[in-house]
């Protein structure tokens, strides 16, 4: 469903992405990991066109993200994205955070949007917070709201950029649980994360990046069982033993 082909990107002289190729099939979960600064966020932002790339191609369900004439707005409306720092609209209640794009982008009626919002919040156990502003919620609650905001658009795929790394440890699981459930429901997911427990549990494949390049791209079992490269081994031993 998501196809990344020979993608390269530069910031000035500095090459952030080097010839990256990978794909995420429908209903598949791909975890992207790698040291900080290796280009994971940049890669995932390229998928919905938040960052442009100079070379290579990305298609999502046949729609070309990297093409010149692409209607990025329409494409993004169909791809959900969840950020490290939640990025909820701080001036709106949880209800409006979820309803706004449903109404303004998808053109849903108010009743439809509210019904969808209530159903989603119910699913993640946040119904009682619907009238609050994001600032009144804990990090874990905010991130679950952010996931709901993306899901409200009925996305064909979901992108996560380190969704739990800004959270206090005791809140990580409440967010991961929602993501696991989503994966089991058959959502197509590309997840940048260092939560290897999550990767083992639901990922079909693991993509390991280092210094802008995709160094490994293998089925989860194989990756954890016997990483090919020293860099991946090194990374895994650091992350699993900390």
């Amino acid at each position: 469903m998501i196809k990344i082909e020979k993608l390269s990107k530069w910031y000035g002289d500095f090459q952030v992405l080097i010839d990256c190729t990978t794909q995420v099939n429908a209903a598949e979960v791909v975890v992207v990991c790698g040291p900080s600064g290796s280009g994971k966020s940049t890669l995932i932002k390229c998928v919905n066109g938040l960052e442009p790339a100079q070379e290579g191609r990305i298609t999502v369900e046949g729609m070309e993200v990297t093409g010149r004439g692409t209607d990025l707005t329409r494409l993004r409306a169909r791809i959900g994205m969840v950020f490290q720092h939640f990025e909820l609209y701080p001036h709106m209640t949880v209800r409006e955070n979820l309803c706004l794009a449903q109404q303004k982008v998808l053109g849903r009626s108010r009743d439809e949007a509210v019904a969808k919002t209530e159903a989603l919040l119910d699913r993640v156990g946040l119904s009682q917070h619907i009238d609050k502003h994001p600032g009144a919620l804990s990090g874990g609650q905010q991130q679950r709201v952010a996931i709901c905001r993306a899901l409200a658009m009925d996305p064909i795929a979901m992108l996560f950029d380190e969704p739990t790394s800004a959270l206090d440890p005791e809140m990580i699981n409440e967010v991961l649980d929602v993501m696991v459930e989503l994966a089991r429901d058959g959502m197509t997911m590309m997840v940048v994360t260092h939560e290897m427990g999550f990767a083992r549990k639901v990922a079909d494949r693991v993509v390991f990046m280092d210094a802008g390049a995709i160094v490994e791209d293998r089925p989860t079992e194989e990756f954890f069982g016997a990483p090919d490269t020293d860099r991946a081994k090194d990374f895994l031993s650091k992350i699993l033993n900390h």
């Binding site: 938040l50 950020f83 609209y89 609050k132 600032g135 993306a150």
Partner: protein, 238 residues
């Protein structure tokens, strides 16, 4: 000191009437200029943050020019120089037939000058909202226009209420410069009362007290605005 105190003069006609007229002109200039300052300032401030290079350049040029040329000089340029630069008929019309030339000139000069300062506040407000939320709005499917309308502007307007309060107060104070082109606003009227009555101390004190009252009123109004628009749990300092 042999000064003939007479506070009563302030309440005699025609002087009381002059003061009231002065207050009216001060409000008329400041409020009309504020309308221009807000509308032009918001457009220019937003323009500076747009991805389009030419628009951002033009808006930056506007801010640099209007903010850095002294307001008094701008007032003179609009009043004395501009009519000479436009086509002859227009210049003639401005000089001979345009109603209320001092008033209109003062409003335009003060409005466009303050717009450059408002634009800077708006730009700073938008920039302080940060790229994270902007990306989130784009990822949510919003167009650039919608992102500004529903996310960036509502948040940044709330963030800039305090500095805008001080711009709003400044526009009242700056309106006194209009006396230099002959507009009989509050400061000019008190000067006139001083000349007619030799009670300059009382006249200028009256003007001072009135300016302070205007400032207090504006501050109270803006505090209400601030309280009403405050975002719970958001510092906007990311």
């Amino acid at each position: 000191m042999n000064y003939n105190w007479n506070w009563g003069v302030l309440f005699q006609e025609p002087y009381l009437g002059w003061l009231i007229m002065g207050v009216q002109w001060t409000f008329a200039v400041a409020l009309a200029a504020w309308v221009i300052a807000l509308s032009v300032g918001i457009l220019v401030g937003v323009g500076r943050t747009l991805p389009s290079r030419p628009i951002a350049f033009l808006c930056t040029a506007y801010v640099e020019i209007f903010r850095n040329v002294p307001l008094l000089l701008q007032l003179f340029l609009w009043y004395f120089v501009m009519p000479e630069l436009v086509p002859n008929d227009v210049g003639q019309w401005i000089k001979r037939d345009m109603p209320n030339p001092e008033y209109l000139t003062a409003v335009i000069a003060l409005g466009l000058y303050t717009a450059s300062r408002v634009a800077e506040q708006v730009r700073a407000g938008i920039e302080s909202v940060g790229s994270g939320l902007t990306n989130a709005a784009f990822a949510n499917g919003f167009s650039v226009t919608q992102t500004y309308r529903y996310v960036l502007l509502p948040i940044s307007f709330r963030l800039i209420v305090p500095p805008m309060t001080s711009e709003f107060l400044t526009i009242f104070k700056n309106s006194s410069l209009a006396l230099t082109i002959g507009l009989l606003e509050l400061t000019a009227q008190s000067q006139q009362i001083a000349e007619y009555t030799f009670n300059g101390f009382e006249a200028y004190t009256a003007a001072t007290v009135i300016y302070v009252c205007i400032a207090l009123m504006a501050t109270v109004v803006m505090q209400v605005v601030e309280r009403y628009t405050r975002i719970p749990g958001y510092m906007g300092s990311k």
